[in-house]
Symmetry: C2
Subunit: 268 residues, 2 copies
Amino acid sequence: MDDRYEYYRAMVEYWLTGRFSAAHDGADGLREAMRYSLLAGGKRVRPVLCLEFARVCGLDPEDALPAACGIEMLHTYSLIHDDLPCMDDDDERRGRPASHKKFGETTAVLAGDCLQAEAFAAVCEAPVGEAERFRCCRILSYAAGAAGICGGQFLDLGEDPVTAERLTATDERKTAALMAAACAMGAACAGAEEKTVERAWGFGRALGMAFQCRDDLLDGDGFCALLGAEQCQALAETYTKRALTLLNGFHDTAFLRALTTELAGRSN
Amino acid sequence: MDDRYEYYRAMVEYWLTGRFSAAHDGADGLREAMRYSLLAGGKRVRPVLCLEFARVCGLDPEDALPAACGIEMLHTYSLIHDDLPCMDDDDERRGRPASHKKFGETTAVLAGDCLQAEAFAAVCEAPVGEAERFRCCRILSYAAGAAGICGGQFLDLGEDPVTAERLTATDERKTAALMAAACAMGAACAGAEEKTVERAWGFGRALGMAFQCRDDLLDGDGFCALLGAEQCQALAETYTKRALTLLNGFHDTAFLRALTTELAGRSN
């Protein structure tokens, strides 16, 4: 599994690096801030999922690369804004100063705003058909809006009492929706039929929930704080099993199965 | 002209009101903040331009309505973020408290973020072909990103000395790009060929620059402060003339000509 993961990851680093090099158009400071957060050594789980789903559905993964990188750009924007003083107020991200500490709040807000727009622009550049690119835009907009990361962040910051129901609604939007979108967009790029795209979405959502439960176990937050470590672990296993079952509808899934198991059991 | 303008405006109000009514999904507070800024009595110039270009290019304007409203949503997000304390720090917008004064900074940032995503989602819902919707997404992402409003806001807040060149670059991105996108998306919704879409873009850009020069004259800012009122007025007239000339490529343009003349000479 590792070889293919590193190959995909290298593709993503290469594309993003080229995309955000200097353009000397007066807005290089904005581009620098976007690049700083984008090229901070993330795991690139979402674009890897997108590229692999494109491959599994019969497309050369390279043709899904702009769409895969669009998802990573959207994810990075959400991290920049989550770190803002008016949000989670985090000074560090991946061992380096957060965007607003490095560039100031004004530039951090704008870098996030711009990354969201440029994420859609990237998706629009994938060398696949216009109908396929349209479907990717639709999926990404859904995962980015009220039913996705913005709604999830709003719920996360709200004052309502934390119940399992509310936590599930929050995690489904804040974490799982974008993982689901990554998988669905890979299938959509490949021109898969609607029910296949939906199954890819379902897999990504289940994987995202398992991923979040694992996060909670590692941090002692969320479901771990609410239900205790044992039940949180059981929940992670339920979601992992669901994800693996949904893969039965696809061929050549060894990589995705290994990745699912690894992410659900990871230690960082 | 007024009848048709009011008819278009009523369509926009109707669609936006329906779209942002309560959904009782836990994120109603977020939806309320989006609705507050969206339904604050804007002129709706951009969606009106989009609807009229759709009509001029042969489409029932109603089929372009979700795309037109998507542009207004994107415009509204940019106003919410522009008003933030770390940006222009404005406490009022259209005679009411700005979003961050009414709902707090956290919700204002999220409402803006969410409106950008939902703008793309709205465009994806227009009842036209997938290729047409794809083209609209591409146009909107361009106008929203580094070459559009985010790049323009970054330049506007920068510390470089104000020159005519820099002011032009700022206004082209911050103001003119979204007007251009509105016109181009109307044509794209109607399935117009690429050079027609580009001509619509050119018209919208020239109109946007004329609109901004008029703003500068009314406020004593920008080109008016740099060049004086007389030269600023001459610049507005140059852009207006350019816009009117670009309309020669279209049929049935009386409404667009009247609107251009009115916007370039408006007193508020």
